[in-house]
């Protein structure tokens, strides 16, 4: 079966809000009633899309579209997401809800508690245009869709139990029954070339985020879910999530499945970039590596809009380019690069290196750091442009 390419635009944690004008700090750069001088990440994104001629097959949104169940914020951002889909010429906008989108803390409810009630009144309908799918999502906490031929997406509500027991608000969850139901639905279908799980909370604890403290916010039973998904289908899984506002890239126990966590699109944060990602997925169901991907990321700030920017540490965000699915370990990669550099003049354009070693595109940020270090030990240096992209590699003469 031939390889195919699928482009996914990924954004999450918008935290749109209705500005109250009371001088309190804004949770994000996305006020629902923007003034002329207010920041405009979506407007800047339109400029980026035009400038770079970007397009995508699907737009994937990991939830927390609004901040603290701000309905006006949600309405505003939901329309913006639909406009983004149009702008990118995408076939579908696929979205889940996050903990902030549900009124699970029962704010301003006047004795009519209904955590998900407001979201069920939205137009366009949330999260799907189709009423049955939407009903299914709310009733069963998930829905399966086939937005593209050969692509199956499980859209999961990991905040479904918020508003119930007290401590549920602190983390995501998928129940055993939900896992069983998902498995049953998947087993009844033709195998897809690519399976995607879209959820808000990360499925496994993230390491290093809280220092030595364990991560309390991950999706309970997320590990079980991943095992169930990867065991009941013969195709790889791409798990997309948000919630923590920092990027995540890790393999699951299944060697061909990958978890990608998005940075926050527009939340106000210290020390982290607001980011927007384009995933170029290469699916090869019968090949040695069924799932590979390159992640291109743009970072936003008020003065410069969306640009590719170098990062100084993992918590800041994704670098401008990274990937997953490479079969070459770092030392093998270094050997190949060294051979190319030594075979020609003292430096090479990075595009030439990529032609000879295309797997570099699918290298994770951690592995790429190791590669750069090993190259440095051999006096082979990478030269980056001002946007942080590697453009040349060479050695001193």
């Amino acid at each position: 079966m031939a390889k195919r390419q699928i482009r996914l635009a990924l954004l999450s944690d918008l935290h749109a809000f209705q500005s109250s004008g009371n001088g309190k700090g804004a949770p994000s750069f996305l006020p629902a009633n923007p003034g002329v001088s207010d920041p405009d990440p979506f407007g800047d994104l339109d400029k980026l899309i035009e400038r770079e001629n970007l397009h995508a097959n699907l737009v994937m949104c990991g939830g927390d579209i609004s901040d603290k169940a701000d309905f006006r914020g949600f309405q505003y951002a939901w329309l913006k997401l639909h406009a983004l889909k149009q702008k990118l010429n995408a076939k579908e906008l696929v979205s889940t809800c996050g903990n902030h989108d549900l009124n699970s803390r029962l704010i301003d409810i006047d004795e009519d508690p209904d955590p998900k009630g407001a979201l069920q009144t939205l137009s366009p309908r949330f999260p799907f245009d189709d009423e049955k799918l939407t009903d299914r999502f709310w009733s069963r906490n998930f829905a399966l869709i086939d937005p593209l031929p050969g692509v199956c997406v499980v859209v999961l509500n990991t905040s479904a139990y918020h508003g119930g027991m007290e401590h549920e608000l602190e983390h995501g969850r998928v129940s055993e029954r939900t896992i069983t139901a998902i498995k049953r639905d998947l087993q009844g279908r033709r195998p897809a070339d690519l399976n995607i799980l879209l959820c808000h909370h990360h499925p496994r604890p993230l390491r290093g985020v809280w220092g030595n403290a364990p991560d309390p916010e991950f999706m309970k039973k997320g590990g079980e879910l991943l095992s169930a998904l990867t065991q009941c289908t013969a195709s790889p899984w791409l798990i997309l999530h948000g919630h923590r506002h920092i990027p995540n890239l890790e393999h699951t126990l299944d060697p061909y499945s990958i978890v990608v966590g998005a940075s926050s699109f527009s939340s106000q944060m210290q020390g982290r970039f607001n980011q927007f990602h384009l995933l170029e997925i290469e699916v090869d169901p019968t090949g040695d590596v069924p799932l590979k991907g390159a992640v291109e990321t743009w970072s936003w700030n008020m003065t410069g809009g969306w640009q590719q920017r170098p990062i100084s540490n993992d918590d800041e965000g994704f670098p401008p380019l990274c990937g997953f699915g490479s079969t070459l370990p770092p030392r093998a990669m270094v050997e190949k690069i060294e051979s190319i550099v030594n075979s020609g003049p003292a430096y090479m354009e990075w595009t030439e290196v990529l032609e000879s070693v295309p797997d570099i595109r699918f290298t994770t940020p951690a592995h790429f750091r190791q590669i750069e270090q090993l190259l440095g030990d051999k006096q082979i240096h990478l030269h980056r442009d001002k946007e942080g992209r590697v453009v040349q590699v060479g050695k001193p003469q």
């Binding site: 003049p345 430096y347 240096h381 030269h383 453009v391 040349q392 060479g394 050695k395 001193p396």
Partner: protein, 632 residues
């Protein structure tokens, strides 16, 4: 007074400093100044802030020329017989260098700042080479004049040779790698205690000159490429920010006979650099270099330039197909909306001009007396003799119209002076129309761009699609004037001795404006009001410095006919306020006759001696608002 450079620029969004070569080309509208600039001659570009110096120099860069679409772009490329190295200047950069040099002795500070500047110049040179070889515009119209084919082996050889000569550690032997290595070297400089603690790279630079650096790069380039005919235009922006020693070098090179290099230097109209130019080697304008002032004397030329700027700003809007005259109409005191623009029929009985004359005659006794003295009858203006028409009628007509707009009849007797109308703002009849916009912005591309963009935006947002009302236009001109005045107000003044009242730039401008306003809108009509000033010997030194500052920031312009457009001292020179300020100060946008500045200010402010600088007492610290590292 140098502090004006550290304030954010007025209409800063249009500052060419922050935009890359390709964007510069997309925004560029060439004036006659550009076609003078591109000649293979040394050039001194002289203009206040916002007059377009940076934009013009940046347009000479290979990438900008290559990105320039259209016939004019082709013409420019065919005329340019050199490759241009653009070295920017930045007051913040200068401040950073000063801070780093704090630990050094005065003598070493000079050498250190020299070395830093030269490294900066080297970086600009390599950037030029990168533009010639690989950093091309997305749509490349350039040919041989803006591009060089440099095979990789030769590029590596050039970079290795330069790095070796410079004693510069080079990790990736490419032009990009070389540029990065230069940047990293400066980052590593830190805060040295002595010159001996500098790296070999920096140490070597402390004893070099601009020409040494230029020749090194050029010779290595020629050796590798074989392009023996290569010529370079070394462009230095805001020269007054560069170290004094560098300025001296550059001025001396204006007499250089090295055929490989021409120098294109941009400076403000008045600064210490001008004194150096007079001192160093006696390079003279017209012989050794062309001095190009960036203000328009000729109204026709200014209007053509403004028309082209308007086209550029309207290009991607619904206003693109309409002329600015359709959107803004003509101005009241130019050709108005009447069919007749000149000749006797302009003063027909029913024309607005005649109505102005008759109205003012009726309400202003002093004007009536003026007409009587000159034997001019408002009932028969169109039949006045040619001599009277030229000497009196045409000369005073705009003043009459202006005054008529502001005054109404006296409440008491006819013999009393006319009364100022209670106006909500500047009168729209005066401060609107295409001609007024061109005049007010003085052909300054940054000012014009700022105002034109807002007018076009306002028009595109208007549901009716009709011409902008005069009120709307006046509102924009007034807003721009206020913004400019607020910016002037933010410029810090020099430290005055305690107890001595000091005069801010804003106060100085306001005092002048109030005087001029009284000339034109005082109780007595004046046919030849004073609307400009000459700096006389009686002007205190502190006021002279204010004049220089006002000139450099563009608040005043030179109006005398002296050929020399730059100066160290304003004494003997005549100036007026820029027309941009006219709406807030109720002034007509015209030149007017001049009076001595000391006389004007004495009348407005009293005894000027109290504002004179006091002599320095022994041991008194240097005034750091005036002196910096880059002064000797």
């Amino acid at each position: 007074m140098r502090n004006e450079a550290s304030i954010s620029p007025f209409f800063g969004a249009y500052n060419a400093r922050h935009i890359n070569a390709e964007e510069v080309a997309h925004q560029f509208v060439p004036s006659s100044k550009f076609w003078e600039l591109i000649a293979l001659r040394n050039t001194l570009l002289i203009g206040p802030r916002g007059s377009g110096k940076t934009h013009l120099l940046k347009m000479l860069q290979p990438k900008a020329l290559a990105a320039w679409k259209g016939d004019e772009g082709e013409t420019a490329r065919s005329k340019v017989d050199y490759w241009s190295v653009f070295t920017p200047a930045d007051i913040n950069w200068k401040t950073q260098v000063e801070n780093r040099a704090q630990g050094l002795s005065s003598e070493d500070q000079i050498q250190f700042s020299n070395a830093v500047f030269l490294s900066h110049f080297r970086e600009a040179y390599i950037a030029c080479l990168i533009q010639l070889t690989r950093d091309r515009p997305s749509v490349d119209f350039g040919g041989k004049s803006t591009r060089v084919e440099l095979p990789r082996e030769k590029e590596v050889a050039l970079c290795v040779a330069l790095a070796e000569t410079w004693r510069l550690p080079l990790r990736v032997p490419s032009l990009d790698g070389l540029k990065l290595a230069l940047v990293e070297e400066l980052v590593r400089v830190g805060v040295p205690k002595t010159l001996t603690s500098l790296s070999p790279y920096m140490s070597r630079l402390t004893s070099m000159t601009v020409m040494d650096v230029a020749r090194e790069v050029s010779e290595n380039f020629v050796n590798i490429t074989g392009l023996y005919g290569a010529r370079w235009a070394l462009c230095f922006d805001e020269l007054e920010i560069a170290p004094i020693s560098i300025q001296k070098n550059l001025f001396s090179y204006l007499r250089s006979t090295d055929q490989r290099f021409v120098f294109k230097l941009a400076i403000s109209p008045s600064n210490d650099a001008s004194a150096l130019l007079n001192q160093v080697g006696n390079a003279s304008s017209g012989n050794d270099f062309d001095a190009i002032p960036l203000w328009f004397v000729d109204q026709g030329e200014r209007e053509i330039f403004c028309s082209r700027l308007w086209e550029k700003h309207a290009a991607d809007t619904h206003a693109a197909t309409l002329s600015p005259i359709v959107l803004l109409q003509r101005s009241r005191f130019q050709f108005a909306n009447e069919e007749i623009s000149h000749g006797r029929r302009r003063y027909q009985e029913t024309s607005p001009w005649v109505k102005d004359f008759q109205y003012l005659e009726r309400i202003d006794r002093s004007f009536a007396e003026f007409l009587k003295r000159r034997d001019v009858s408002t009932a028969a203006l169109s039949t006045a003799s040619r001599e009277k028409m030229n000497a009196v009628v045409r000369k005073v007509a705009p003043l009459v119209g202006f005054r008529a707009t502001y005054f109404t009849s006296p409440k008491s007797s006819v013999a009393s002076p006319p009364v100022r109308r209670k106006l909500k703002g500047p009168p729209p009849e005066v401060f609107s129309g295409w001609d007024a916009v061109c005049t007010a912005t003085e052909g300054n591309p940054r000012w014009f761009g700022g105002i034109a963009s807002r007018l076009i935006l306002k028009w595109t947002q208007s549901p009716s699609g009709r011409a902008l009302t005069r009120e709307q236009q006046t509102h924009e001109l007034q807003a721009a004037a206020r913004k400019f005045l607020a910016w002037i107000n933010a410029i810090p003044i020099e430290n005055a001795q305690r107890g001595t009242p000091s005069l801010s730039l804003h106060d100085f401008i306001s005092a002048l404006a109030r005087y001029f306003e009284q000339e034109i809108l005082g109780p007595v009509f004046k046919a030849d009001p004073v609307l400009s000033f000459t700096v006389d010997e009686g002007t205190p030194e502190s006021i002279r410095r204010l004049v220089i500052t006002a000139l450099n920031i563009g608040a005043i312009v030179i109006v005398d006919d002296d050929v020399v457009n730059f100066m160290t001292s304003p004494v003997g020179r005549t100036f007026r306020l820029v027309h941009l300020l006219a709406p807030v100060f109720n002034l007509p946008m015209r030149k007017g006759k001049a009076r001595n500045l000391s006389g004007i200010l004495s009348k407005q402010l009293g005894n000027l001696d109290s504002r004179a600088p006091t002599s320095k007492r022994p041991g008194e610290p240097v005034d750091h608002n005036q002196m910096g590292l880059f002064n000797e």
